[in-house]
């Protein structure tokens, strides 16, 4: 019999929830209790039926992936090796019992990310500054392999365009490996977070070749987001030598003619980069006022060495038009949780009084999830969506907005709403920030030139 390792083996039974802490009214709807074990043999149907309350559930791809403790931000990867009792509350929320306390975890990311990029070979690069015009090759095998989970893998044989496009990728860090039958290859780690990820260009080189990949680090982004408000973002473009040979006498050219870029400048940094090392090039970029809710700005990177060899890549900046302020205040102690942005980017909340900037995305829904495993941290709190939070002078309704302990029970907040609620021990509170507004975005700010 084929032996398979899975991580979710469960007896199907009902756990009843009343309030949000997982104990209470037995008339509430059921949730699935699952247990993660290692090296269990699966012999039964993957379906779960109420008629068979002890049926084994094979759902290895349901919970597989990165999860995060809501109260602490600790990230764990759930796979065959995860050893704890898990209660699945909904698709994106689970809880774990430890030391008689209930800890909630939310999925970090999604399992439906689209990942794209392109490959080119040593001899195909041209002198053209436009990376999108460069020649590409095909007949390549591309593998996207999660760095710790051998069962989380995507593979594709490319056509002649050299473009790859994986769908339904789980968020996480992967090794991208591409090889040709002519012994050209590239292998490097890539991060996959968000709904659509453009990885840029990868050069295929021989075994004795050297190779580069570019990424950027921003010093002053707003929770990792960029806004078209004429704010100047500063940071470093990091050129990683991902080959096996040092790059000698390297120089760099950065180009963008995007009409939404008001200014781009970089310092000139020259020098040799050893294999496995990187070089940081300080830069600044200012995005113009946007007349659309979001826009992606490509910046082309061309790397040349002292022997006139050339590499090219593109880094992408996803820019948003409008920052919204989520204003949060508490009465007693810090409140902990996350704002979940479509694509499951997470913005952490750990505050007694703060304003958190998130991007306005028309027609989208954001989630706010707050969790408290400790009696010491019970507190009233207030949330204002782009308006100030409320004061607690007369608040005493500790059941306000309950039940809201899972996504399907989340209370909806519209732009301009402000509420007060209470987070008790073992509680988890869900809110939806609904951006299905009829705001006429196009009439707020003027059109920007198509290119420079």
């Amino acid at each position: 019999m084929k032996k398979r390792y899975i991580f979710i083996i469960a007896a199907m039974f009902f756990v009843f929830t009343g309030c949000d802490s997982g104990d209470g009214d037995p008339t509430e709807e059921s949730i699935v209790k699952v247990t993660a074990n290692e090296e269990e043999e699966i012999t039964t149907s993957p379906t779960v039926t109420e008629e068979d309350p002890v049926a084994v559930v094979q759902s290895s791809d349901v919970l597989r992936g990165e999860w995060m403790y809501v109260h602490s931000g600790e990230i764990v990867y759930i796979d065959e090796n995860f050893d704890a009792d898990i209660t699945q509350i909904d698709d994106r929320l689970i809880s774990v019992e430890k030391d008689s306390k209930t800890y909630h975890m939310i999925r970090r990311g999604i399992d439906t990310t689209s990942v794209s990029g392109s490959l080119y070979e040593e001899s195909s690069i041209t002198a053209s500054p436009s990376l999108r015009a460069q020649n590409r090759i095909g007949n390549i095998n591309v593998i996207l392999q999660h760095i710790t989970d051998e069962n989380n893998k995507k593979e594709e044989d490319l056509d002649a365009t050299g473009d790859f496009d994986f769908s339904n990728v789980k968020s996480g860090t992967y090794t991208l490996k591409a090889t040709t039958d002519t012994n050209l290859s590239v292998e490097t780690e890539v991060d996959v977070y968000g709904e659509e990820v453009s990885l840029g260009s990868f050069k295929l080189v021989g075994d004795d070749g050297y190779n580069f990949k570019t990424e950027f680090i921003i010093d002053n982004s707003d929770n990792g987001y960029f806004y078209g408000t004429m704010k100047t973002y500063t940071g470093k473009l990091v050129v990683n030598n991902i080959g096996s040979k040092k790059g000698t006498g390297l120089n760099y050219t950065f180009k963008t003619d995007d009409g939404f870029v008001a200014d781009f400048s970089n310092e000139i940094v020259l020098g040799t980069v050893e294999a496995g090392s990187s070089i940081e090039i300080p830069f600044s970029i200012t995005f113009n006022i946007l007349n659309v809710t979001t826009h992606t700005v490509p910046v082309d990177v061309i790397i040349r060495d002292a022997n006139a060899n050339e590499w090219s890549d593109t880094v992408f900046f996803h820019v948003f038009q409008t920052p919204l302020d989520i204003n949060i205040a508490t009465k007693e102690s810090n409140i902990k949780g996350y704002i979940i942005i479509p694509g499951h980017d997470l913005v952490q909340i750990d505050t007694s009084n703060a304003s958190v900037k998130i991007p306005y995305r028309e027609g989208k829904q954001y989630y706010i999830v707050l969790s408290n495993p400790n009696i010491d941290n019970e507190t009233p709190y207030s949330i204002g969506v782009d308006v100030p939070s409320l004061n607690f002078d007369t608040f005493q309704d500790t059941s306000a907005h309950e039940p809201n302990g899972k996504e399907s029970d989340a209370k909806t907040l519209m732009l301009g709403d402000s509420i007060i609620s209470y987070l008790h021990e073992g509680d988890i509170d869900y809110f939806i920030v609904d951006m299905s507004s009829d705001a006429d975005v196009g009439s707020f700010s003027p059109p920007q030139i198509p290119f420079r």
Partner: protein
């Protein structure tokens, strides 16, 4: 006191040929005069020396490196040949807007990109139109000379359709003066020295402007383009 035998001017404009220099004169910055006078009398003069020369048969103004919102500096429309002269190859792109963008460039790769984006090419620019250029350097642009004008005297503002319009004015004009001509204009935007300025008369727009800490626009400067949104 003994008269000086040497004169210096920062800038000097000579309007007619009656001007006689009977002592050594030096123009530290720019000498302005007609092409005819310059070639006949001053180009190789020993008594009047200069650093720069500009032909006073033209209007000039300085643009900075990067994006510039400009207007025609006088009441002469530009045709395709004067556009090509006015916007040299140090201007990457020239843009006008009439319910969509039209572009112009002397650079082959930019022309290619205009085709790639299916954008129409500018064939003429009329007085009152706003112009956005991307200049590759700080430079002085030269336009055929003509009379000055103000956008508020052109009967353009009164007849604007719904939507965005990119306008231009040679003489400075206040936002209030333009608004008085067309009460359907609900927001104004200008771009100067890498900074946006804007104003609006509706709460929602004004809130958006204030939230981004955009400076409030009160006056459209001379020789500049600006956006209006008509509701």
């Amino acid at each position: 006191m003994q008269a000086s035998s040497y004169s210096r001017f920062a800038n000097l404009e000579i309007l007619n040929e009656d001007i006689i220099f009977n002592q050594t004169t030096h123009v530290v910055d720019t000498l302005y005069t007609s092409g005819t006078l310059y070639n006949e009398m001053y180009k190789n003069s020993d008594t009047l020396t200069h650093v720069n020369y500009l032909n006073s048969d033209y209007n000039y103004f300085v643009v900075t490196e990067g994006i510039n919102f400009i207007a025609l500096p006088n009441a002469n429309n530009l045709n395709i040949s004067t556009i090509a002269t006015a916007f040299n190859s140090n201007v990457s792109t020239v843009w006008t807007y009439d319910n969509g963008w039209s572009g112009y460039s002397n650079l082959p790769d930019r022309q290619e990109k205009l085709n790639e984006y299916n954008l129409s090419t500018i064939s003429d620019i009329s007085v009152g139109e706003g112009i956005i250029i991307y200049s590759l350097t700080e430079q002085t642009l030269k336009f055929p000379k003509g009379d000055s004008y103000s956008i508020k005297d052109l009967s353009i503002v009164e007849n604007l359709s719904i939507g965005w319009h990119l306008l231009g004015t040679n003489r400075s004009v206040s936002v209030a003066d333009i608004q008085a001509l067309n009460s359907n204009i609900v927001s104004f935007w200008a771009y100067n020295a890498a900074e946006w300025l804007a104003t609006a008369d509706e709460g929602e727009f004004l809130h958006s402007i204030e939230k981004r800490e955009i400076s409030i626009l009160e006056t459209i400067p001379s020789n500049s383009a600006f956006w209006v949104y008509v509701k």
